[in-house]
């Protein structure tokens, strides 16, 4: 359902409902610097430039500070988009490591968009 756009390249990744930002990116064939994948180490933070997300688990204050809860900081392993979102990587570079998964994701996105437009017409 939500589309995740990567700034500044403009690449779009399709996420299943309930999928985390990290989970969605890896499932679409991308890789970047990640750590525990369970919300504890804080290394997979990215910035959300546009759109809304929420955390699917409690996140420790030592991992996300009070300020970071409102400034667009996104702990990507626990963040689930509530709408389409645009993210920007921090120090870590996003690499496409599996083009086949990227193709599958692209088709899933086009199918979801086609389905959405049919539903709207009806």
């Amino acid at each position: 359902m939500p589309n995740l756009t990567i700034h500044p390249t403009g690449e779009v990744v399709y996420l299943e409902p309930g999928e985390t930002v990290l989970g969605g990116l890896y499932k679409a064939g991308y890789a970047y610097t990640i750590g525990c994948r369970r919300g504890g180490c804080a290394i997979c933070k990215v910035d959300v430039l546009d759109g809304e997300f929420s955390y699917d688990h409690p996140v420790a204050d030592s991992v996300i500070s009070e300020q970071e809860r409102t400034d667009g900081t996104c702990l990507s392993c626990r963040a689930v988009p509530d709408s389409d979102v645009t993210i920007e990587m921090r120090d870590s570079c996003l690499r496409l490591v599996n083009p086949f998964l990227r193709q599958i994701n692209e088709k899933a996105r086009l199918r979801a968009e086609a389905l959405a437009s049919t539903t709207t017409k009806e």
Binding site: T33, G35, C36, R37, R38, G39, G40, C41, I43, H57, P58, V59, A60, D61, S62, V63
Partner: protein, 305 residues
């Protein structure tokens, strides 16, 4: 006699229910007690009441408990701690469930250490009377007990001095910038009080942080079996199965559901205080940490809780 072993690690978790599932059903620890947001566990081959405490709220380590043989050992360690310049605080029996009175202090690395002389004796799961080799119905990995922990500190040498002078520990292995100890900067140290290859290790890094808490296994086969179970239970693997050059132990690093790093650790040679300390130079540290890959993954020095 002094310190017998690291008796317990007390760790914070963000979600107690998920953490309980991991430590009880994946690792196979036995729950022995629970009270206001805390759960206590022991391994099947441990006899004292608990070796792991989980506390809901946050991540990282709350404190460690070290067990001494006799109550008089507490006075001795208190005196040595004061001589070292530490503030030693007395704790009463019951401040920690089922743990005796003792002392508590904050280390130069900003970790909290407690020293106690007894815990309520529960007994191992196989007992002491004509015991079987292992309990028949172990759950998951079925770890027999807690092994050691690695903590981070800005000043490793001061931590090694403290553990030597106050606890009577000695270094089995060390990473240092020069083979001459006097000229060297200490990057990491592995320390023990007995034949166990390490009870606590200290790596240069941010104060008060936890790198990992390790549980014992017997051999390669058990480490491999644990890895299979981690896949079945969707436990994130950090690295392994592989070997550490340092200690020669066989290992998997993995993460609990709050992101605290765990390890299953097997093997390691017998330590003796008169065995010369093994020294690793920084150019060979990758082989020392991960003996097969000979590369430090990007998480080893950057990911902690």
């Amino acid at each position: 006699m002094g310190i017998l072993r690291m008796g317990y690690a007390h760790v914070r978790v963000t979600d107690l229910a998920e953490a309980k599932h991991h430590y009880a059903n994946t690792l196979g620890l036995y729950e022995t007690h629970s009270e206001d947001g805390k759960v206590f566990f022991k391994g099947w081959d441990e006899w004292d009441h608990h070796s792991l405490v989980l506390e809901e709220g946050g991540v990282g380590v709350v404190k460690y408990g070290f067990k001494v043989e006799k109550p008089e050992d507490i006075d001795e360690i208190e005196k040595k701690g004061q001589q070292f310049g530490l503030t030693m605080e007395r704790m009463s029996a019951g401040e920690n469930a089922e743990v005796s009175d003792g002392i508590r202090f904050t280390t130069p690395s900003d970790h909290v250490f407690e020293v106690y002389h007894s815990q309520t004796l529960i007994g191992t799961e196989v007992g002491t009377h004509n015991p079987e080799a292992f309990p028949r119905h172990l759950v998951g990995v079925g770890v027999p007990g807690l092994d050691h922990s690695l903590i981070l500190a800005e000043d490793v040498r001061t931590m090694e001095n403290m553990l030597t002078e106050v606890f009577g520990f000695y270094a089995t292995e060390r990473v240092q910038t020069d083979l001459n100890d006097d000229d060297a900067h200490y990057i990491a140290t592995w320390m023990t009080s007995n034949n166990q290859i390490h009870q606590i290790a200290v790596l240069e890094g941010p104060q008060s942080k936890l790198h990992h808490v390790a549980f014992k296994l017997q051999d390669w086969a058990e480490v491999g079996h644990a890895g299979d179970l981690f896949t079945m239970d969707d436990v994130p693997i950090d690295i392994g199965p592989t070997r550490h050059g340092i200690t020669r132990g066989q290992t998997i690093y993995f993460f609990d559901p709050a992101g605290n790093r765990n390890e299953v650790f097997a093997g390691g040679y017998l330590a003796y205080p008169d065995r010369p300390t093994v020294k690793w130079t920084p150019d060979q540290i990758a082989k020392g940490i991960f003996y097969h890959a000979r590369e430090i993954n990007e998480r080893f020095t950057t990911v902690s809780t």
